[in-house]
Amino acid sequence: MAKKNAAVLTGSARRSWKTELKRDWVVYMLFVPIIVYEIIFHFLPMFGIVMAFQDYNVADGYFGSPWVGLKHFATLFGGEDFPQAIRNTVAIGLLKATIGFIAPIIFALMLSLIENKKFKRFCQTLSYMPNFVAAVIVCSLFTQFLAKDGPLTMLLTNIFGLTNQNWFANDQIPVFWLIYLFMGIWQSIGWGSIMYVAAISQISGDLHEAAAIDGATRMQRMFKITLPNILPMIMMMFVINIGTAFVAGYDNILLLYMPSTYSVSDTVFTYTYRQAFGGGSSNYSLSAASGLFQSVVGTVLLLLSNALSRKTGSSLF
């Protein structure tokens, strides 16, 4: 009987799916270009991972280049400066995943407390603008600001009594890390807060009203109403961000670092860049091996963070 019911149920589901496709085929057709795009530009190129296991050269291509197994991984991990690069990558990634992650949330919460709508919109627009400035420009600006005679340096020296110096040439921990972090926050805080602002705007005003009537303060309403309501969004963004925090966004470092600060600024990305392209010829295999390593790390972190967020009831998948 149970089997019969199951068969009936299954049959119904199959018919339902077909019916759905027949009925809404236009909607599904809209999805086809995306699928094609993903397959061509994201799935098919995965075959290129084989480069990491070959001594790849352009002339011989994928099928003609000799297979070398894990040689490039050994070269990468066996490099003298690789541990240092890993340390810096983890440190910067942790800072991005914690302080860098929280900053847009705090900003969104602060925006939500602004009652004057015009001023709120003005603040939001102003905060979005740095996101559209090219990385090269941002790096150039900060290089100027934090140069020996830069305005920020003058501020730090005259107000806080810090040493007058080129801050980007400082190889003390955690100076470079913090500068890089705050530069990233400055550029992305507005854009990153959009999702949270949208989530906060979805919270029913009745809840706040009722709480206000019951005598709750602004801070109490923030912690008891706003934050719990946007927690699912926070967890989802956390899962997305954690996967990329350790592997993405390090191209700016190429513009900011210098040999005297390699000890604090060199990451796996920049280390690989120098090893692969520093000698005058291009070592695509080494850079592919490094890219694969970083992708694996990112994937593991994504899965772990998703498992963690599942415990709060709001996972990505």
């Binding site: 352009v58 400066d81 290089t143 040439a169 210098m258 005297s260 120098r274 692969a276 000698g279 005058g280």
Partner: protein, 612 residues
């Protein structure tokens, strides 16, 4: 708007778009309509960079190209045309890689950034052109066999003694000037210096305030008055007359003057000279002045290959810079200027006239940096300096030796490769055409452009007339030299380059060409090439003969060594690392990379394929 109207509007828009595309794309790569020759074969030619779009947006519109393509070429008198392909500025290398990886090759490739010609042929990207060269390029063959340097760098000889041609190279009839070199503020020397022998202050200045090269003075450098040093230097550079710095001691004498000048002018927190951020340039340059060689692999006068990274020359050079750093002569922030090219370090301070000496470019010579704003550049005169000979630092083996690893032009460079795609086209016509540029007439068209007679004849093209060149791009002067037109000498843009077919492989005219430079300007340029490069063989025939695997082995090892040097050399200069203990560690670490394996490899190629 009704649906019918919308459809009509859409149709018209599509037609207009198609017509516009045809007009635009149809015009790319075509030769002028001048002359009676109709192109029978069109060759696709990939160039690394074209002329500034200030004059034409497509290289095919170059007047010298159009002039030559009016004629017929080859034994069957055929006409040809070119379709020039070029990547977007800034992405030339990517464009090149994509081209190779996709196999979508043009017929001709500019060899500027390619692998060595033999490697390109082995990989199948280019074809061997021996039979075509020997049959249709008598000028080229004659030139290639006329001197050793031409021959070594353009002809490959196999183990059976047979000659092979893999590329068409550029041959220069003399060593060309280079675009950059050390230069200094000579006006500060005049104003703040005194003759070291007599104690009398120097005098000098512009003889014509409107002429930025009309400088005269009575400056004599201290080493001129030391008979022993004078004699030694004249052996190395017989044309020296004491009016320009010769030794490191002369440079240090200048640095003291620059320091006085900066103090007097109120220039604070500046320095006498800066250095490329790693503290060295691995092709040699100033480093080579401390006994010869460089920190890369190089060959000595006996053609023996050395790895210079752990040698006394490099150590002595670093000691010198450390001393300059301690005395405040060397820029204390040099190793932070990582985004500056080696020939434009701290360009802002240089252009503001705050620096005494720097490695700069031709356009900064003379009074060209004077901004006429009453600032620090007022009255500036910049003079070029020869690489100095070390007479101060290190052991005897590092003193009184001319640099042998310097950036300089060779007699053979660049050129083009013919790809297999062109195999079925009219190569007889193509090679006959290209051989023309190895004749004097063709070389003039390549290097300078059309003469007056040619410009008058070429009435279909108005480029010369439109740009004030009715008298042609050059003329024969009273000394029998080909002199550049005054219009081109005065032009500060790309007009001179736009006039000639400089992308063509051919004979580069150096010796018999008067570029119209002022004597002081020409003298500065000549000083930058006093000492020829005899030691640095990277990028010459010697390394061009290496296989791809060997090239990769060298590149991979050098990436690691350069990484170590870049991180640590500056510490010796700044004093963060001391020489007594640090140098031994430096040598030990470099030894771990086993550079001797590559030394042995290079030696086999230096023995078999000398480049000079």
């Amino acid at each position: 708007m009704s649906i019918r109207t919308k459809w009509i509007a859409l149709f018209v828009a599509v037609v207009v778009m198609l017509v516009g595309m045809q007009v635009y794309y149809g015009s790319i790569g075509t030769t002028s309509s001048g002359g009676s020759a109709t192109p029978e074969t069109t060759f696709d030619w990939w160039i690394y960079s074209g002329t500034s779009s200030e004059y034409y947006d497509n290289y095919a519109k170059n007047p010298a190209i159009q002039y030559t393509l009016r004629k017929v070429w080859g034994p069957e008198e055929k006409s040809i045309a070119f379709n020039f392909l070029q990547g977007a500025p800034g992405s030339e290398a990517d464009n090149y890689s994509t081209m190779l990886a996709s196999g979508d090759l043009p017929d001709i490739i500019d060899a500027v950034i390619s692998d060595p010609p033999k490697v390109m042929v082995t990989k199948g990207y280019a074809m061997e052109i021996t039979e075509w060269v020997e049959q249709y390029m008598p000028n080229y063959v004659a030139l290639a066999h006329s001197n050793n340097e031409y021959y070594f760098n353009s002809v490959s000889v196999d183990d059976e003694g047979k000659e092979h041609y893999y590329a068409l190279c550029n041959f220069a009839d003399g060593y060309d000037t280079i675009f950059q070199g050390y230069q200094y503020r000579r006006d500060w020397i005049v104003k703040y210096g005194v003759n070291s022998s007599t104690g009398v202050p120097f005098t000098g200045g512009y003889t014509d305030e409107t002429d930025q090269d009309s400088w005269e003075d009575n400056v004599m450098f201290p080493s001129w008055y030391d008979e022993a040093k004078k004699a030694k230097y004249l052996e190395l550079n017989p044309s020296w007359d004491g009016t320009t710095p010769a030794y490191i001691s002369d440079w240090e004498w200048m640095f003291e003057i620059f320091t006085r000048a900066q103090a007097d002018l109120g220039i604070k927190d500046k320095y006498s000279i800066s250095m490329y951020y790693p503290g060295f340039t691995w092709s040699g340059g100033l480093l080579s002045c401390f006994g010869g060689g460089t920190c890369y692999w190089y060959q000595d006068a006996d053609n023996k290959v050395h790895f210079g990274g752990n040698e006394e020359t490099f150590k002595t050079y670093l000691e010198c810079l450390h001393n300059w750093y301690q005395k405040g002569w060397l820029d204390h922030d040099f190793n932070q200027r990582t985004s500056d090219s080696f020939y434009q370090i701290d360009d802002t301070s240089v252009r503001q006239g705050q620096i005494g000496m720097w490695n700069g470019v031709q356009s900064e010579l003379g009074g060209r940096l004077d901004m006429k704003d009453g600032g620090f550049t007022a009255g500036i005169f910049v003079d070029g300096a020869t690489y100095p000979i070390n007479d101060v630092y290190g052991p005897e083996s590092c003193q009184y030796k001319a640099p042998d690893c310097v950036m300089g032009s060779g007699l053979v460079s660049g050129g083009i490769l013919i790809t297999p795609k062109a195999a079925n086209k009219d190569l007889a016509a193509l090679f006959s055409y290209l051989d023309y540029f190895y004749s004097e007439e063709g070389a003039l068209l390549k290097c300078l452009g059309l003469s007056k007679a040619q410009a008058d004849e070429f009435t279909e093209n108005t480029f010369y007339k439109d740009n004030g060149l009715e008298g042609g791009a050059w003329f024969l002067n009273d000394e029998g030299k080909y002199q550049k037109s005054d219009v081109l000498v005065q032009d500060s843009g790309q007009l001179a380059t736009a006039c000639g077919f400089n992308k063509a492989p051919g004979l580069g005219l150096i010796k018999n060409v008067d570029l119209g430079y002022a004597p002081s300007y020409q003298a500065s340029l000549d000083r930058w090439t006093v000492f020829p490069n005899t030691g640095f063989f990277q990028g010459t025939r010697t390394t061009n003969e290496m296989s791809q695997e060997e090239t990769k082995t060298v590149a991979d090892l050098w990436a690691k060594i350069l990484e170590y040097m870049t991180k640590n050399a500056a510490d010796f200069i700044t004093g963060k690392n001391d020489f007594e203990k640090g140098w031994d560690k430096w040598v030990k670490v470099l030894g771990k990379y086993k550079p001797d394996t590559v030394t042995a490899l290079f030696q086999t190629y230096v023995d078999k394929y000398p480049f000079r």
